[in-house]
């Protein structure tokens, strides 16, 4: 039973309730109901396929934020073995919104880092809803530097609405922490694979995203600004978030189309939380393949390749061509 129903899932939920009623009538002895049950089941399936095959960007954002969606630690547990969590930035605090440690991916020793949301309200308070403070980014950087020292590939999990917008975060240099991660990740001489498993919110997500391969789950999103933030700035109206989500091109398929990410991992109909083990299996395959591919490279090739990868991102044209085209 799903605990949480998104708005656009309600039609299915309603039919499912009806189906439940029919089934109870059937088991209570009411005859001639089997055909009706069969029909309803087919209808439900049709509706589900219809809804989930035509998700709008905003609907995907909602799935990406679904409270039952698997979190970083769920994937670490399902995909890796021998995880040893390492804590602390050695400067100010341990940030529970950011986790990391050693783990083995199909026997390959690796370092995992990632933002971590809670599974319930209590956990979410502890994890600050997966929004790191500067100490979280500094912990991640410490662990990635340790991976670099030990020639371990890095797998980073992205699932955050963004860096936390608070007074303490500003006091302790949120911007400098993110910038330092961006600069340093570009220089690390080990493979870096980033995977966006849910929300990829702005600079706070990118601070784990400078990678050799970037994977996205089908219903994750990656955006320069939250749809709500964009709507509030451009339309002065948060309710325009669905439109903003559309315009921002933040879905996995769109980003793949633009060549900004490498691979999209399919999710089961309805989202990753409907069959977490299946998603973990496919994600593992993709991670293993990516790590294998990059582990054959020399440190120099990795660093040059990663630089070239970022260097190439940009949508612009020569001024002359533009002028000619507009004539």
């Amino acid at each position: 039973m799903r605990k949480f129903i998104l708005d656009f899932e309600r039609p299915v939920a309603e039919l499912e309730e009806k189906l439940e009623e029919l089934k109870q009538l059937s088991s209570a002895g009411q005859p001639d109901i089997a055909a009706e049950i069969g029909y309803l089941e087919a209808q439900i399936e049709k509706l589900r396929v219809h809804i989930y095959s035509n998700l709008t960007p905003w609907q995907r954002v909602q799935i990406a934020r679904h409270p039952d969606r698997p979190r970083t630690l769920d994937y670490i547990e399902a995909i890796f073995t021998d995880f040893i969590e390492l804590k602390g930035d050695r400067l100010f605090a341990d940030d529970p919104a950011m986790i990391g440690g050693f783990a083995r991916l199909d026997h390959v020793k690796a370092m995992v880092v990632g933002t971590q949301k809670g599974r319930n309200t209590k956990e979410n308070v502890m994890r600050n809803f997966g929004m790191p403070h500067p100490e979280g980014y500094r912990k991640a950087l410490r662990l990635m530097t340790l991976a670099d020292k030990n020639a371990l590939p890095i797998i980073s999990f992205i699932d955050t609405l963004g860096a936390y917008p608070g007074i303490g975060a500003e006091e302790r240099g949120q911007a400098a922490a993110i910038a330092t991660n961006l600069m340093t990740m570009a220089k690390l001489s080990v493979p870096i694979i980033a995977v966006n498993i849910g929300e990829g919110g702005s600079g706070g997500a990118l601070a784990l995203g400078v990678a050799d391969t970037v994977l996205m789950l089908e219903n994750s999103y990656y955006s320069v600004i939250s749809p709500e933030g964009c709507a509030s700035i451009l339309w002065r109206d948060n309710a325009k978030a669905p439109t903003a989500a559309e315009e921002l091109g933040l879905t996995a398929d769109k980003l793949l189309e633009h060549g900004l990410v490498d691979t999209v991992i399919k999710e089961p109909l309805g989202g990753a939380h409907r069959a977490p083990a299946l998603v973990a299996r496919d994600l593992k395959k993709a991670l293993v393949a990516a790590v294998r591919r990059h582990l054959t490279k020399t440190p120099g090739e990795l660093v040059e390749g990663r630089y070239a990868r970022m260097r190439a991102v940009g949508s612009f044209e020569s001024a002359e061509e533009a002028a000619e085209a507009s004539e």
Partner: protein, 288 residues
Amino acid sequence: MPISEWFGKNKNDNNGEGRAEKLVIPDGVWLKCDSCGEVVFHREFERRFKVCPKCGFHAPLGALERIAHLIDLGTFNEIATGIVSCDPLDFRANKSYTEVVEAARAKTGLAEAVVCGSGEIDGRPVAFLVMDFSFIGGSMGSVVGEKVTELFEWAADMRRPVVSVCASGGARMQEGMYSLIQMAKTSAAVGRHASTGCSYISLLCHPTTGGVLASFASLADIIVAEPKALIGFTGPRVIEQTMKQKLPKGFQTAEFMLEHGQVDMIVPRADQKETIGRLIDYTTRDVG
């Protein structure tokens, strides 16, 4: 007219005291200070590069004014030119992105929100970039990211120090992820420049926030701020909404950032050129 010509034009003019006046459109002899409300003599205001002679308020400066202020007359040569933004997402709000960019071009006379070039500061060769907040809030899209990256790469090749002057609201949302990744691209370029042993001095002006502060603007060896400039990752309004409480007085000002160890010094506009020059001296190896 390209910027280089614009500055080249001044080459043989009298320099020193009088050069600021070149930028004045004399639409009035007096003006009212935005901060203290006092009426001040326009020429005096412009001569001080828009610092109020009564209260010391630092009014915003455009990219060309910054160049005139910091770079020796006639030495500026624009580089990383010749590219213009596309509209990769076909982004439409009230206006299309293309219209937004065209309006910004018309308003500012600039090609984009950053101007990059080589030049000299009191005779010291530097690579220089300056952002203009009046161009779509000084936001960083693909063109800004590309130009900044090209400048740092050029400076790395030429073994020149970089001086950047930022004023930006952050990433340019109309380019979506293309904009976001410019943060990583420019930061990586700063890293390569730093690896050559060259130095980088960043001047943060009002306001510098978001994706620009969280990338190249914060990665300098020495960070200088203008008095009272707003400097922060998340804008104060968003924080106030999240925290549901009033922000402390002076939050995210240059002075606040100095106290919290995020910038090296606050330097009034009148002293910036001299101070940056001295900093370049200290961070450039003497040719022995």
